[in-house]
Symmetry: D2
């Protein structure tokens, strides 16, 4: 169970760190400053400078051969293991544009995986290629308002057959990335047969974002932030018509596609969260050493030694658990790795929000302000405790896996 | 030690609840929707509808005789004790405009207290009267960038004598309420003698917000929110000239004024925090009963019974501790009550952020969105863990008070 | 809601403290040293010195008029309220023989309450009188091995009618106090009609401890301690015959008796727990001031300020919550007070174990040894998290009471 | 960084598990039942049956070639890495006699390491050989009463030169294993030059346990348990005379010896703690599935799913952290590995006490009684939070290592 940095990934980590330090961190900041800076004051429009920044970052990454690392266990990319990729994801998590620069950002990686694994050749030609090239972006359209989406059988956004076509109606929300003007393709889960067996009621579709009948109602806000231009959009579909070949994998097999999609994505999120926790701990230490109160460095006041030590220990443990989940996935596949994926899905966002919260506290009021990246990190990380299943659902999975060791009865 | 609802305050609580339910809660929401809705798109400008709403609420409160409750132990108001007032503050905390409607909002109450207790007759005529009437608002200008403001001797914003006048120079930040166009008076702490004994270096001033040389640099953001139109402003003073009678209480007595100011204000903040925790628990319960997953009400899934029970227990305890701190202040004065004030200052915001966080989690993604008041409550409450001294400073006070029971040595 | 020390109880608190300091604390220690010091090496036998100590303490308490405080709201005793009694219980909790000295110890107070409230005149003459005089002791025989006793319908120890007599068979365990040779009376819950409605299946009996057929199998150990001579005994009843008038209140009314019994007892336990937490905090502070490491007093090392402050805050809050539960019981009766009793039943033992645990840690290895009272306090307090219902059951009660505010459906 | 079970250690793990299941678990129980069962009722005397059990277990282990695994990185043993050994230690932790059966128990392994690394040939012949053969046992005599032993410069037990001999005087306590009649050799730290530089004041000695002048005052109790016959003894040395060659490594080099000794031992303790946590989780799950309350299996009541899931996650993380610390030690040596050793020293005992505490709670009163192994596990694990340095000292080390990344100043 090698959880370490391999010889293969070592130079990639260095190269990623280098580009982060040289360009990504400060261009991320500039990019954020440009949001909404356009004639319409529309935060979901990209101005020329924003486009330039994205181009510069991506073309530089491509030029340096740092691209599509996430294609683990594949001939198309570097053939990295998930463990190896995890170390890269951690680095990329340290700046807002980190993952996108290397074409490794959510939800695109998950969507590309779906298209590569389950898509037809036509799907691949039309959507996968430009996604792999970083020319367009995508959204995963699953969650619905008014229901507990983690209990997926409650999802009732409908797709009805009408001759050769499918007609989609209903609302979806928290559709991350759908705010970006470059988002051109949606992967959509819809209920196609409410009378079928529980896990055969839904079908996955792929579609052009510009299909008539699609309406973006509003951005959902996260602690008051719209996360523009990416956005987490509330959408409405009215008689949206899709051709028969928009179906992925097959009618009634939507959950199958969804299941396969979620494993790696969760691990990527977690590793990026750990990267953010590392960054927060660094900020905490530097603050503790540079600011004084009552005649002492803040670091040596009160419980701060303990706070720093606890942060270090919790980061170490979460990273190791994440690496083990990655290892399990590499070795036994997503299904077998499920309990470990659930474990890290609970642990990493909780740990990272806690470390960031302590870092904010160590910074005083400045810590929650725009002068530090911490509050933004906090709100992003807090969102992860809902995304891809709330903590409670994952704890339930872990507990049931544990109890099944000792019983054959249904738990 | 009567910590209960007295006969005297009982009808006031009912009256406050009634106005909250009839007008304040929904007008608060409308008011928030209007923020920035003006030709300049300036969130720190009030439009006509905002002014109307404020007028309607305040005049209704006045008409019903519900005004200036905070004037505890005073002939001017109701002569409520701090314990009695605490119950009212809890109710007012449940909606954003709650406290302002009854002219009981921070930082005005603290500032009025300063003016009443330490101000000259001229100060009172010019500033206290319109504040008591709710016609203008005020700001307390103390915290400075770049230093640990809780170690108040580090504050170096300077006021220098120039003949009969004082000349103020420097920056201040996190000046709450200074964004509001109705804010017309500042209470300002400045260093007047850096060579004096530690606690005699600073002086408190009162001044017109429109004095030349005052510049508002920007609003500080709290988790990305500007809290407009109230705002927490970053300000710069350049050669701001004040007359000799702008001094409050006396040169070098700034800390004395500051100390007296903070006791009641902290308790008010805490009681409003407890009100918000109560509201969050109510939302949590209602959500738990109305939403289902996996065939059960959410309330009876997972650890939710425990989460609800813990929230109830922690709210009860924090409320009792706050009431005891209020009682101590009523009975023995601010100074004697200090350890209890520090205790509740640590406990209430921590407890309330925790309860709100659990309530958000129980709501799924909706919980952190604009569709629920929880995220806004969270960011406000999180701020309280810095305001008026960070947790660590108050814990230190509590520990030292405890240890001094057993030693005469300096701790 | 007066939660303070009344004029009435103030001198009693002083008198209790005085006797604690003068005699109880050090005689408690001597008493413990004598346990098992008899020819049989039997820890459940009292030697002459033990008897002398008990006599001396009790007769001194009686002489000073400090006796049976627990008889709240009664003409027989002082007529204290539960709130007033709580302050005394806190003091008595600070030494092992504290409560017994004043004839206020569990399970006697609960048993006396049962006899006073529900017993016949014959029961009172025979058992209540010597109990009130502190001449004998008693046990409450309810919990059974092999079942979750908190789900009381599972209790299956049986009593069958045989003519005019009842015949009892079965096992009971964790029967506290049954190890003491002075324990002469049992209050026993037995199932008399397994076919009856859920809460009418059981009946409460009173009986002589020497009745033939009663066998003490062994002491249950608490973290390896037998808590001799009090003991928590595992017992077996074989054809134990009781007369018809051994029934308390009436056949099938066992739960009714049990319910009434538990309210006050839980509050007494909690207040004594708070007394122990206070004692632990005092020891923690004194240790922190007297021991040095790395050139500093331990109190000012690491997180110790925070640990001390948190202990103080948590004790304050638990005490206030306990006093409020007592107030609710005084004002509205046991049934209405139930959610508050459940709250403090969860809070106080958890808080006190935590404070004692921190105190042990501050003492280094000595803290868990026989040289400090902390480990003994810890194991006693830890037991309270099971006694009279485990935490989970009480949290469930609190949550259901909360949710019932918003629904009429069964929760 | 291979943290997994290697092909080499896999069959050893199986063999250890097999012997645990076949003999060690139930003979451990029988052994414990025999403690004190001798004419003198002396718990620190071994009766014939105890000796038989020890012989049977050890000779069986030897026969199966399962012996002295702890000799990592050595030609004498299996040449296991610390990572490999960790997996074995985890298994051995699951029963009281687990480690001793395989001659892998504390404090012997640490003492053997000292003798092997720093001992003279004479030391090795006389003490190391019988220790390696499991014929005698040993004690490490370091901790002293009345001082904070973690601040080792405070240790003042003295050794004075008298001609060619050393004369030792003073008290030591918490000397684990010194109660066992088979304990025949002590490794003793004594202050030999109070005027020397801080870390050159002490010297390490090796000596026969039967040397005149050594007196065992009493066993220290852990939560009331004497941990007989092993014991944690309070000892007094009066004019104990040792020859010059009793010195290990050299005069004034005591701390050097002590430092080298502690790294591996801490990791062994931690892995055994993790083994106990695993056993507690297993007991928790089985209880949750076998006991019912309120019509449901306990496992699915209240927060129990979350409790089980949290236990699983925390065990996983602690195990991985421990393995990483072992890996660091294998790869970079004790000194470089120090921060990781400190991390796991804090994490493992805290985690394991928490899991065991939850397991006790899930078992009701039975959980803390002699009918379950949990209370015994708890008290042993709780002791680890002091042994080899309290949590606070290790957190301090971790924090300082972290801060030193960003400063060259003394922290």
């Amino acid at each position: 169970m090698d959880l370490g940095v391999t010889e293969k990934v070592k130079p990639l980590i260095e190269a990623v760190r280098k580009l982060m330090a040289e360009k990504i961190v400060h261009l991320s900041e500039e990019y954020e400053g440009e949001i909404g800076n356009n004639p319409q004051n529309d935060r979901f429009v990209l101005n020329d400078r924003q486009k330039e920044i994205l181009d510069e970052l991506k073309s530089e990454a491509k030029k340096r051969g740092l691209w599509n690392f996430w294609l683990t266990d594949s001939e198309a990319g570097y053939g990295l293991t998930t463990v190896e990729y995890a170390y890269l994801a951690e680095e990329m998590g340290k700046a807002p544009l980190g993952a996108e620069t290397f074409n490794c950002s959510a939800p695109d990686t998950g969507n590309m995986e779906v298209l590569e694994r389950y898509g037809t050749q036509a799907h691949k030609d039309r959507w996968l290629k430009p996604l792999l090239d970083g020319e367009i972006r995508s959204a995963y359209v699953m969650t619905e308002p008014g229901v507990a989406s983690s209990d997926a059988v409650q999802l009732s956004f409908e797709a009805k057959k009408d001759g050769d076509e499918w007609v989609l109606n209903g609302e979806k929300w928290w559709i991350s990335g759908a705010g970006d003007p470059r988002c051109q393709v949606y992967i959509v889960l819809a209920q196609t047969d409410p009378e079928a067996a529980k896990h055969a009621r839904h079908t996955m579709f792929v579609m052009d974002a510009d299909t008539p009948g699609v309406e973006i109602l509003r951005p959902m806000q996260v602690f008051g932030n719209d996360d523009a231009p990416h956005g987490h959009m509330h959408m409405k579909f009215t008689d949206v018509r899709l051709p028969a070949d928009a179906v992925i994998l097959g009618e009634g097999r939507g959950f199958e596609v969804a299941q396969g999609r979620l494993g790696p994505g969760r691990i990527h999120h977690c590793m990026r969260a750990i990267g953010q926790a590392e960054r927060a701990l660094e900020l905490m230490c530097k603050r503790g050493l540079s600011r004084e109160a009552f005649g002492k460095k803040i670091a040596s006041l009160g419980a701060n030694f303990d706070i720093i030590a606890n942060a270090r220990m919790e980061i170490e443990m979460a990273r190791l658990l994440c690496l083990k989940a990655a290892y399990m996935m590499d070795t036994f596949g997503v299904k077998e790795a499920q309990p470990w994926i659930s474990q890290i899905k609970v642990v990493a966002p909780l740990m990272a929000t806690k470390v960031v919260d302590e870092a904010m506290q160590m910074h005083g009021g400045e810590g929650i302000s725009q002068d530090q990246p911490l509050a933004r990190m906090y709100t992003n990380l807090r969102t992860l405790r809902f995304a891809d299943g709330p903590d409670a659902v994952h704890r339930r999975q872990v507990a049931r896996a544990e109890l099944r060791k000792y019983t054959n009865e249904k738990i």
